[in-house]
């Protein structure tokens, strides 16, 4: 059976990581998606605020994360994937900020990933199409960024995974970087061949795909084995809510408006053998503290349901 994972954001706290990992384990998760992005938040980055977290040496960072690593191990939770801080390039920001993201944040994120013995790190593509004009030019910029960390990935045995993300215009969510499965499949193959290692893979984000009307089944089938990790979450098709799957309906019949059946069929068809990972941190905030373990438990149950459906058991 496939393993089930969930992101650590809102579950694991720095002051007591033990409690968070234990709660995850008790709910039924054996894997974690470590939310490294919460140590350099996007909300701060867009305001060009660097909090100094990645100014620390790698030794200091490893020391900082040692309690987390040990707590996860004691709880029986494996850090399967992590999320690099994003954005990793801000078009309007000073060069010094973008240099910092490229030269400090990104390589240190890779080192932290290695420290956790984590196999996958999810990275956002650069959102610069609005400025550069074409998706190809945008990908070139992303590839240029990734080229700086691909050698580290090869050396460390890590696969960097880009995910399908979105952009917006006037509160309307629009297709963003890495939303063309055919192009991404070609790019992944080309880059891995160039490096002679699986340095690049894909993270399929169900919520983002739902927002821009991507056909889950077709997208996953096109990616095939290039699909390495998942961000499973749900929304109403309008806003990026990161909620529990099967939550949203938009008709009187109350059928889910997200294509979970297509998702399961496609994972079964490609014989997906990764982790069913939920990116549902808001669930842990929207439910009161007294119900958070139960909310997590429900997510794990959904994960187990997916696992059974995918494996046909």
């Amino acid at each position: 059976m496939l393993e089930i994972g969930v992101q650590t954001h809102n579950a694991v706290m720095d002051e007591n990581p033990e409690a968070g990992f234990q709660m995850m384990r008790e709910a039924g998760f054996t894997c974690a998606d470590f939310s490294l992005n919460m140590y350099l938040k996007n909300t701060d980055l867009y305001k060009e605020r660097l909090n100094g977290f990645f100014d620390q040496s790698i030794e200091e960072l490893e020391q900082f994360f040692t309690p987390h690593k040990e707590a996860a191990k004691r709880a029986g939770v494996r850090i399967h994937q992590m999320h690099m801080p994003y954005p990793n390039f801000i078009p309007s920001a000073a060069d010094s900020i973008n240099d910092y993201l490229l030269r400090e944040m990104a390589p240190k994120s890779m080192q932290i990933c290695k420290f956790f013995d984590c196999k996958y790190i999810v990275v956002h593509g650069l959102k610069v199409k609005h400025f550069y004009g074409t998706e190809e030019a945008e990908w070139e910029a992303t590839e240029k960024f990734l080229d700086r960390i691909f050698p580290m990935a090869k050396e460390m045995g890590i696969t960097i995974c880009v995910e399908n993300i979105y952009t917006s215009a006037g509160k309307h969510i629009l297709e963003g970087p890495c939303c063309d499965a055919r192009k991404m499949a070609e790019r992944i193959d080309r880059i891995n061949e160039k490096y002679g290692a699986e340095v690049l893979g894909f993270c399929f984000d169900t919520g983002h795909a739902n927002l821009v009307g991507i056909d889950f089944e077709k997208f996953i089938l096109t990616l095939g084995k290039r699909l390495k990790v998942l961000h499973i979450h749900d929304n109403d098709g309008i806003a990026d809510l990161h909620q529990v799957p099967f939550t949203f309906t938009r008709t009187r019949e109350n059928n889910p408006s997200t294509d979970w059946e297509g998702f399961v069929r496609a994972l079964r068809a490609i014989d997906y053998d990764g982790v069913l990972n939920f990116e549902t941190a808001p669930v842990l905030r929207s439910f009161p503290e007294g119900l958070r373990p139960q909310a997590l438990h429900m997510l794990a149950e959904i994960g187990q349901y997916f696992a059974r459906e995918i494996s046909g058991q």
Partner: protein, 445 residues
């Protein structure tokens, strides 16, 4: 570029004269020959109720009597002739998106075939049709639609032969898909599918013509062409990147339908009118950039069904005029360089971002002699290789020089020029929908 108005929402089945009059008065000279006039998707929603209404109002209920489609369309066609309006393109009726019953396709197919015949008989160049989607699984889309679309081509060919016409287009519209209330990517939303479908249909149609002994399609034979009708609203509702789509399907586009709308349901509004507190809801920059990049010059069809339908009738003529003005503006944006081509020389008025964007995008092909600015402190300054002069210099220009106003205070500057006695050769330039605008602005920060 032909501007065409879809009469949906404007023209009423019982009294088409007023709506067509509003369209004509607004300056449109073309409407779609739309069989939705007598058979819109509402007719398929509560069929028994619609049947009763039709009976009570002595109208033909077309889903039950597809053979009477020409009769049901008569009032519309007669009024078109009275108003002397052209209808170079037709639009076939379609089912509502949420229908899951495959059997319903049997009802729509004869209506669409009738619409194709009607289109050819009325001299249309092509007809916009939707693929079949009711109850069609993703993996069956091609298998179900291939024979259907080939049959439509055959129907058109038969009619063309009878009328001794030579050429007709089957324009297949890209679809969004109804997924339990959520609109997602549907048939032909993937550019690769567009390329495959159009190529395969064209080739299969040619083969079928050969197989029936009708001979290969050649210049002196009837030509049936399969093209894409790109509906930007269907792409926009779920947020597909329209620029990338346009570029990827450029060779296959036969018509373009534009409308504004919402991000939650299919609504047809006048372009640029759907906004939130933070901006436009439709990516007009991507649409305009795309159509400009491929030098699109085919039919541009306005669908403003819901805006017109829910506009107070007394205000509708004004709405239609605004809609026509909007379509003219879109054409102007898409073909902005046409204005530059008219002149032997060009000068600019304005020495800011817009002037810089002119230079970036058009400066090499249409180099200006100079630019001017009202600020005397800047006269003589070099601005990205262009000398800034006093507006007085505009009094002494070579023959056939266009003055392009590169400043958003268009009307004030135009008035200033008029006061100087300059009324000829004054043009507007606009950089809102240019490729490099945003990066240029960033560099300027």
């Amino acid at each position: 570029m032909e501007i065409i108005c879809n009469p949906a929402g404007v023209v009423d089945e019982k009294r088409p004269g007023q709506g067509l009059g509003d369209i004509t008065a607004a300056g449109f000279d073309q409407v779609l020959l739309s069989t939705e006039f007598c058979c819109d998707e509402k007719k398929f929603k509560s069929m028994s109720q619609e049947r009763r209404i039709a009976e009570a109002e002595h109208l033909i209920y077309v889903p039950d009597h597809p053979e009477q489609l020409p009769e049901a369309m008569k009032p519309f066609l007669e009024m078109l002739r009275q108003k002397k309006m052209r209808c170079d393109y037709a639009l076939a009726s379609h089912l509502p998106r949420d229908r899951k019953n495959f059997e319903l396709n049997k009802t729509i197919i004869p209506i669409v075939e009738g619409a194709v015949r009607l289109a050819v008989q009325n001299g249309c160049k092509g007809i916009i049709v939707r693929p079949l989607y009711a109850g069609v699984d993703v993996e069956e889309e091609w298998e179900v639609n291939k024979p259907y679309l080939l049959r439509l081509g055959e129907v058109a060919r038969e009619e063309l032969q009878a009328l001794e016409q030579k050429h007709f287009q089957i324009l297949i519209e890209n679809q969004c898909k109804y997924q339990e209330g959520h609109l997602v990517r549907g048939i032909l939303s993937d550019p690769a599918d567009v390329r495959e479908w159009m190529t395969e249909l064209q080739s299969a149609f040619a083969s079928s013509v050969n197989a029936t002994g009708a001979g290969e399609q050649s210049d002196d034979e009837v030509q049936i062409e399969y093209k894409l009708c790109m509906n930007v609203g269907s792409l926009s509702v779920y947020g597909q990147d329209i620029y990338e789509y346009t570029m990827a399907v450029a060779d296959y586009i036969g018509a373009v339908i534009v409308h504004d709308g919402s991000n939650a349901e299919e609504v047809s509004m006048v372009p640029f009118t759907s906004v939130s507190s933070t901006g436009q809801l439709t990516q007009w920059i991507e649409i305009i950039r795309g159509l400009r990049s491929i030098s699109y010059d085919g039919p541009l069809i306005l669908d403003m069904e819901h805006a017109a339908k829910y506009c107070p009738p007394l205000l509708r003529p004004d709405l239609m005029k605004f809609a026509k003005r909007t379509m003219d503006y879109l054409v102007w944006q898409i073909h902005m360089a046409d204005a530059m081509k008219k002149y032997d020389h060009i000068v600019l008025f304005g020495a800011g971002n817009m002037c810089r964007n002119y230079l970036t995008n058009y400066g090499k092909e249409y180099p200006p002699l100079f630019t001017c600015d009202n600020n005397p402190n800047r006269w003589g300054e070099d601005f990205y290789g262009l000398r800034i002069e006093s507006p007085e210099k505009l009094r002494d220009l070579p023959e056939n020089t266009g003055i392009f106003i590169c400043n958003v205070y268009y009307r004030e500057i135009q008035k200033q020029l008029e006061e100087m006695g300059i009324t000829e050769g004054v043009e507007f330039f606009n950089d809102e929908y240019l490729q490099s605008l945003n990066m240029e602005r960033l560099r300027g920060l």
